[in-house]
């Protein structure tokens, strides 16, 4: 009875936060994107950061679930259903963040009636739609009681795995193909996004499974969680390796890349960079690399929270660092176009890009995350076998907030 009340309270809080987010979004629609912290200098901010982050988070689930069928990992089959639910919810959140970031959402149908096939954003919209469709079909077959559904799951998973890899690659190409931005324009972006997606997605999956365990809704045995934690350790190591390769390549010639690296290492985005390196990669790897630690669920949970937070911080420095320096420099710089700039005077100009999210962006982002947590709870309630009420929403939200 006590759990039930707690669960209800948690749902109530999430519901309220969602409503607050919707209200903030309506405020933004009425007043324009000027209510955000973005400007002509830094033209993308928290929304695109969250978009990258959530595309990544949705990976873990689908990759674990589909590897279960493709590579016949029998253990993973047991968690395939909650994994795909998580994946579906996260990709919906990612899609919402792209739409929220648009200045002219009322004209968004133009992408369908007159798409430019060369645009990475158009590719991304296609691949995300396909990915969502595969998730839904996957869920439908997994929960179907008709004979032969299991075979269909096996077929879908063979498509799901490559599409999951593609969705992260295409998201990376939105940035990685922009030659104008030092720090983005790199062939390593796609592999880096795939592996960041795998480690943050896997970490969130572990946290969600622990939450479901606690709620009694769905049981995952410790051995499987330890096993997933082992896979997580491998992904963290690969992630760190790719980040290292990129940093060395930027630094070595001592040219433009080194200037961008200086912004990351000692400049405006340094706190985010070092947080990711230390708390997102180093600490969780050192915890999870030991078998003994992987058996202790408290440590696994802590490491998972570190990884999710670390990857969020990576999205922040990855996005914002490349907006700081202007290719064509000189006073007075760029005209900002913001609400403050509309007052005229020297405040209209900036010599470098800078950005801080406003309360509107933060409330909208929390609203979307809350909606995602609510959706996960409800879908888990509806689709998972089992009975008692659940509390994982709190854990999911805690993971996000970290």
């Amino acid at each position: 009875m006590q759990t039930s009340t707690k669960a209800k309270a948690a749902m109530g809080v999430l519901g309220t936060l969602t409503i607050a987010g919707v209200a903030a979004w309506i405020y933004q629609l009425a007043n324009g994107l000027g209510v955000t912290g973005m400007s002509n200098g830094t033209s993308w901010g928290l929304y695109i950061t969250m978009f990258m982050f959530f595309v990544g988070l949705s990976a873990g689930g689908l990759i674990v679930a589909s590897s279960a069928s493709v590579f016949h990992v029998a253990d993973y089959k047991k968690v395939a259903l909650p994994a795909v639910i998580l994946s579906t919810v996260c990709i919906c959140c990612a899609g919402m963040f792209v739409l929220i970031d648009l200045g002219g959402i009322q004209r968004v149908w133009r992408i369908i009636t007159g798409p430019n096939p060369l645009s990475p954003l158009f590719w991304d919209i296609c691949v995300i739609t396909l990915y969502l469709a595969i998730n839904v079909v996957y869920l439908a077959f997994m929960t179907s009681k008709k004979p032969g559904a299991a075979d269909k799951v096996a077929v879908v998973s063979r498509f799901a795995l490559p599409v999951a890899i593609l969705v992260h690659s295409v998201t990376a190409w939105i940035f990685g193909l922009e030659m104008a931005r030092e720090g983005w324009y790199s062939a390593i972006m796609a592999p880096l996004f795939v592996v960041s997606a795998m480690d943050s997605g896997l970490a969130l999956l572990i946290l969600s499974l622990m939450g479901l365990n606690k709620s009694g809704r769905f049981k995952t045995d410790k051995k499987l969680l330890s096993n997933l934690a082992g896979l997580l350790a491998v992904c963290i190591a690969v992630d760190a390796f790719l980040v290292g390769c990129e940093v060395l390549t930027m630094a070595y010639p001592g040219a433009a890349g080194a200037e961008t690296l200086a912004i990351m290492a000692t400049g405006a985005t340094a706190p985010f960079f070092w947080f990711e390196i230390v708390i997102g990669l180093l600490i969780p790897f050192c915890i999870l690399v030991f078998t003994k630690n992987r058996a202790r669920m408290g440590l696994v949970a802590a490491a998972s929270v570190c990884v999710v937070a670390g990857v969020f911080f990576k999205r922040v420095w990855l996005l914002l660092t490349s907006f700081v320096e202007l290719n064509v420099a000189g006073a007075p710089g760029v005209s900002l176009g913001t609400t403050a700039a509309q007052q005229g005077g020297a405040g209209m100009w900036a010599l470098a890009g800078s950005y801080a999210p406003t309360w509107v962006e933060i409330v909208v982002a929390i609203g979307v995350v809350s909606l995602g947590a609510l959706a996960f709870v409800m879908l888990a309630q509806k689709l998972l076998p089992g009975g008692a009420p659940k509390r994982e929403a709190v854990n999911v939200a805690a993971g996000e907030a970290a």
């Binding site: 007043n31 994107l33 200045g103 002219g104 430019n116 104008a180 913001t338 509309q342 005229g344």
Partner: protein, 205 residues
């Protein structure tokens, strides 16, 4: 084919900002943004100088849309709102712009500005050319090479108003045009050639 272009003589440019003001008036550019800017190179202040006294110098660089032959902004636009027209100008169809700002991330010259808010004008009326479309909030805009004027056979307003006669407007595909001659004979260069955008706006001394 036609490739309308501007060549700017940096030795003649005095940094008076008349081109920036003329652009703003002609194109009804709202408060807080500029399609055309005059940068004081290697300086942190608009009135600053390069070097230390008495060894100082000043150089000005007017920057607007470079009307590239290989525009990075055009490639990434998901709806085709940014297009290259038959006169070689890079233009925006505001009806198609969804405000995703892919183009702003792609442009190496920071030539593009976005209507973050409902546009504000001071004085509070549309001061632009009557043929220039009025943009609303949520769309990207930039130098059109004065599409409305050049369609009528006039020069862009920045060229017309330049006090120092530093700007030359014409067709790069016409070898007899003055702009072609200058590009040929004065070794006019492009901004950030390493970006491979092949700008039609050129600079010479």
């Amino acid at each position: 084919m036609t490739r309308l272009a501007i060549a700017i003589n940096l030795d003649r440019c005095t940094g008076c900002n008349t081109c920036a003001m003329a652009c703003k008036m002609q194109n009804n550019v709202p408060m807080g943004m500029a399609w055309n800017r005059v940068l004081n190179e290697d300086c942190e202040f608009e009135v600053g100088v390069q070097g230390t006294y008495p060894h100082v110098s000043r150089s000005h660089l007017p920057v607007a849309c470079q009307h590239c032959e290989n525009p990075a902004c055009l490639r990434v636009c998901p709806t085709g709102a940014t297009y290259k027209d038959d006169k070689g100008r890079v233009e925006i169809d505001y009806e198609k712009c969804i405000g995703c700002r892919m183009c702003m991330a792609a442009c190496p010259y920071n030539a593009r500005v976005f209507n973050w808010n409902e546009p504000v004008r001071d004085p509070d009326f549309n001061y632009g050319d009557k043929d220039v479309p009025v943009r609303g909030k949520g769309v990207v805009e930039k130098c059109t090479l004065c599409k409305e004027r050049t369609d009528r056979g006039d020069e862009p307003m920045c060229v017309k108003c330049c006090l120092a006669k530093a700007r030359i407007f014409g067709d790069l595909d016409d070898p007899e045009s003055e702009v072609s001659r200058v590009v040929r004979e004065r070794n006019a260069t492009a901004l950030l050639p390493e970006q491979g955008t092949r700008p039609q706006v050129r600079y010479f001394n």
